[in-house]
């Protein structure tokens, strides 16, 4: 789960991480009001969206007086920002962060992630702040330093100090930098983050060390123990279909195309998206319904795929392992009854590939059903080709 920068900064502040003074604003009036409260000669007006690259896209403005705050706030609120992380459709700005300007001496990079190979939390730092870390890794890998953290010990003081010297934090700011690292690590562990990234971390003219930007991602599997984080969810940042699917307990990712698929198992679901593309179709989604789905869940999955006219055809790809093909087939028939008025028609062609346990019974249920446009595929390849052909023919 992702949250906004201003929310991340509030979480970090509660762990003792130094952040600029700032207040969120949802309207132009609020922006001006908050700029007054902050009262520094320069305030920063920052668009709050769940994507990086806001600065380059014109989403971060320096205002020298309240008129400028008003102008920038009216310009940004409601604007669609297109950054290299948003995709071409961009993201609409609904919130701003009004923040005290900082007297920046130098920018750095600092982050915590979980390293798969060592199964440890790793702290990464670089003196190339403000740049994307992937770019630094590609162009100047020697400028990235790492400290692997023993979960029993936590971030050891010597590791934080070593990092501070490695990335050339000036001597008067060393203690402040190591304190920030320790607080950030505590936040990372305390809130079950999957990413905590400060880019840039800055040393100010006064030799203070502050998190000028902040990005926190959280482990979805651990949200049950962080209801305070769950409350920060901004539903307007999420794809409405993905949101609806999550509520129904479905694993769904919108991919934007028109050939939909419904599959059991995440691996097979990814592979099904791939095979649709392989045969020239534009995949509409990734969808893992699991194997033991009820007819209601299958019906909801169909409705999500069809919603807004997105799916022009649906490929159902099921391998019955422990879960039986006949149960899935019965689920499709029941789903059709829920979706259509007459129980006999689905709005788009549905090609079904069933294989594995009780496959014959499953095929028979679908063949005997009154649903008009369900087509049985003899093989997975055949099914993928068939659905792509039918969607293209319908265009």
């Amino acid at each position: 789960m992702n949250i906004h920068e201003y929310q991340s900064k509030a979480v970090l502040k509660s762990y003792g991480v130094a952040v600029p003074e700032g207040l969120p604003a949802f309207t132009v009036e609020e922006a001006v009001e908050n700029a007054k409260k902050i009262g520094t000669p320069v305030v920063v007006v920052k668009a709050q969206i769940h994507a990086g690259g806001r600065g380059k896209a014109g989403g971060v403005k320096l205002a020298k007086n309240l008129d400028e705050v008003k102008n920038y706030a009216s310009e940004l609120l409601g604007k669609t920002l297109v950054t290299h992380q948003t995709g071409p459709e961009g993201k609409k700005v609904g919130r701003l962060l009004i923040e005290a300007g900082s007297n920046i001496k130098k920018e750095y990079y600092l982050s915590f992630v979980i390293d798969r190979q060592t199964a440890r939390v790793v702290m990464m730092g670089s003196e190339e702040g403000g740049m994307e870390i992937e770019k630094v890794a590609a162009e100047m890998p020697e400028k990235i330093f790492k400290e692997y953290i023993d979960p029993v010990i936590g971030l050891a003081p010597f590791q934080a100090t070593r990092m501070a010297y490695n990335i050339n934090i000036p001597q008067p700011a060393i203690r402040k930098a190591t304190k920030l690292m320790t607080c950030l690590y505590n936040a990372f562990v305390g809130k079950d983050c999957s990413l905590a990234e400060i880019n840039p971390l800055v040393v100010t003219a006064e030799d203070d060390v502050i998190a000028l930007d902040a990005k926190l991602n959280f482990d979805d599997s651990a949200l049950f123990r962080h209801p305070d984080i769950e409350e920060l969810r901004d539903e307007s940042e999420e794809d409405p279909k993905e949101r609806r699917a999550a509520e129904a307990g479905l694993n769904y990712v919108n991919l934007g195309g028109d050939v939909a698929c419904m599959v059991n198992g995440a691996g097979l679901a990814m592979a099904t998206v791939d095979i649709i593309k392989h045969y020239g179709g534009e995949p509409a989604n990734f969808l893992d319904v699991g194997g033991d789905s009820s007819p209601e869940k299958i019906a909801e999955a169909f409705q999500i795929m069809l919603d807004g006219g997105q799916a022009k055809g649906i490929f159902v790809n099921i391998f019955g392992g422990i879960n039986r093909c006949d149960a899935v087939a019965a689920g499709i028939v029941e789903a059709a009854k829920i979706i259509s008025d007459d129980g006999k028609s689905l709005p788009v062609p549905v090609v079904v590939r069933l294989e594995g346990t009780n496959v014959e019974q499953g095929r028979k249920i679908l063949q005997d059903s009154p649903i008009a446009n369900v087509i049985m595929a003899p093989t997975m390849e055949g099914g993928a080709e068939e659905i792509v052909k039918r969607v293209k023919a319908a265009q």
Partner: protein, 301 residues
């Protein structure tokens, strides 16, 4: 033969009184697995499918001499259950549970350091040594005995692959589902090493997916350490957009790393054939076996 488990391995089921665990205990017993005990705190003295239940893993081990366990415990308690099994000195723990917090697994891995237990999973379908034993949820009827080792990050793709192999007449020694989580007990290289040392296994099929660099690392390892056993592969997630989690917690392209293209390139680079679509996994294995001159030997069913 095969690896990790056989018909004599004595197995505990942790969380045996749960609905899923009870269902799969029946399936595992039917396959011939020697399930000797179950563990659910507070349920000692009960029986599930004729299997005696104990309060702790230690009690179960002392009473039965079990050396392996399979964990079906709910996510928020599963990491603790794995550590309990490690503490009891088991050789093998297979954790089926999905959605265990990643930082819980970081602690588990730290706890396991210096101890002898091997962990498979979490978030996996388990392991199945053909005609001997299964620990987990892999269906037993689609995997025939043979000489190909199967290792996979995905459950359904394990079944899909075993099924395609069976239809192509190719049998399997052991299928190992290593799981879809980013932090896990056994990765590709560990599984490959087991297959390398198993005389019955003549070739390996590995099924990877986006996220992390385990497939790239495996490619390098295979070139350096296993030149004599041919490997075929499949990678899912070619069309996955960056930054999106595709069902599995570990299936995400982040920071430009973990793309299917990189993995396929690394595998092809060491001479490993990668199936172009999921429908061609079986064919790709057959071609690989033929090229290595061991097709007849591996055509066992």
């Amino acid at each position: 033969m095969g690896v990790l488990v056989n018909k004599d391995t004595k197995v505990i089921v942790q969380g045996i009184t749960g609905k899923q665990a009870t269902f799969h205990t029946k399936q595992m017993l039917a396959y011939g697995t020697k399930i000797v005990a179950g563990v659910t705190p507070g349920k000692a003295g009960q029986e599930v499918e004729g299997v005696p239940v104990f309060n702790t893993v230690k009690d179960a081990v002392e009473a039965t001499g079990a050396t392996a366990s399979v964990v079906y415990v709910p996510a928020r308690f599963a990491a603790d259950s794995v550590m309990e099994a490690v503490d009891a000195g088991l050789d093998l723990v297979v954790c089926i549970t999905e959605h265990i917090p990643v930082q819980d697994m970081v602690k588990v891995r730290r706890y396991m350091e210096g101890k002898k237990t091997r962990l498979i999973g979490p978030n996996c379908p388990g392991i199945l040594t053909t005609d001997e034993a299964k620990l987990g949820i892999i269906p037993g009827n689609i995997q025939k005995k043979g000489h190909v080792g199967l290792v996979s990050r995905s459950g359904t793709l394990t079944y899909e692959a075993a099924f395609q192999l069976m239809n192509a007449g190719i049998g399997v020694t052991t299928a190992i589902g290593i799981g879809g989580d980013p932090v896990k007990g056994t990765d590709f290289i560990d599984a490959l090493e087991l297959f390398k040392n198993d005389p019955e296994t003549k070739a390996v099929l590995m099924i990877g997916e986006i996220g992390g660099t385990a497939e790239e690392d495996a490619a390098k390892w295979i070139k350096e350490n296993m030149p004599d056993k041919p490997v075929a592969a499949f990678i899912s997630g070619r069309q996955a957009p960056p930054g999106k989690r595709m069902g599995h917690a570990g299936a995400i392209i982040s920071g430009g790393k973990g793309t299917a293209a990189d993995k396929i390139k690394a595998l092809n680079g060491v001479g490993i054939e990668v199936a172009d679509t999921v429908a061609h996994i079986g064919e790709t294995v057959v071609e690989t076996l033929k090229k290595a001159g061991i097709y007849d030997e591996c055509h066992t069913c």
